[in-house]
Amino acid sequence: MAAILDFVIAFLIVLGGAFALIGSWGLARLPALMSRLHGPTKATTLGVGGCLIASMLYFPSHGMSWSAHELLITLFLFITAPISANMIAKACIHGRHVYGDAVAKYEVPLPRPPHPDAEWATFGSTEAAKPE
């Protein structure tokens, strides 16, 4: 039983390290910011989740007390990763005119808004926030 648990822990640790590496490889290799966002926000978060689950299994199985820290870190990372990705994507969309040539080579144009009269919500919100 202990051998099986050790195998599972080792597997999760290797999986976590591999996913973290794949996410960072995507960050370094992909051509544009919007595609670069995919690597770190999905693969790297999953990799850290694997490491945390491994440590959650490791400590009780090796005679130490279980602590809620790993669970807290996992929850916090999985909640905050999409929020920070959304903020970075918004900063990129609103800064398109600022960065100019640095992104123009790779950047695909924004897709059309879903309705002809409507604008993308992120542009509308800044307009609405302005005082009259």
Partner: protein
């Protein structure tokens, strides 16, 4: 077996941090650098956790928890500054 797995995973994450450093230095835009810093913080959390398993203590988890919270706040503050030119309005 776990020792070998830890060595492999620590090597992978060290390589990942080097790749993040490349993106952080290369840019080309400010959001790219923010994204690279955010990923670097996440990789640092993974490094701390694996180091804690290797040393067999749980004292490092407080540092990992703090890094998770401060890293998120830092990323949001940077992105907010780029969006609005101000952090607290």
């Amino acid at each position: 077996m776990i020792d070998v797995a830890l060595t492999i995973a620590l090597t992978c994450i060290a390589l990942a941090v080097v790749l993040n450093l490349y993106r952080l230095l290369r840019g080309p835009t400010a959001p790219d650098r923010i994204l690279a810093l955010d990923t670097m913080v996440i990789n640092a959390i993974a490094l701390i956790i694996l180091f804690g398993i290797r040393e067999g203590t749980t004292v490092y988890f407080e540092a990992a928890l703090l890094l998770a919270m401060v890293g998120f706040v830092g990323t949001v503050a940077y992105a907010k500054f780029l969006l609005r030119g101000d952090i607290v309005e």
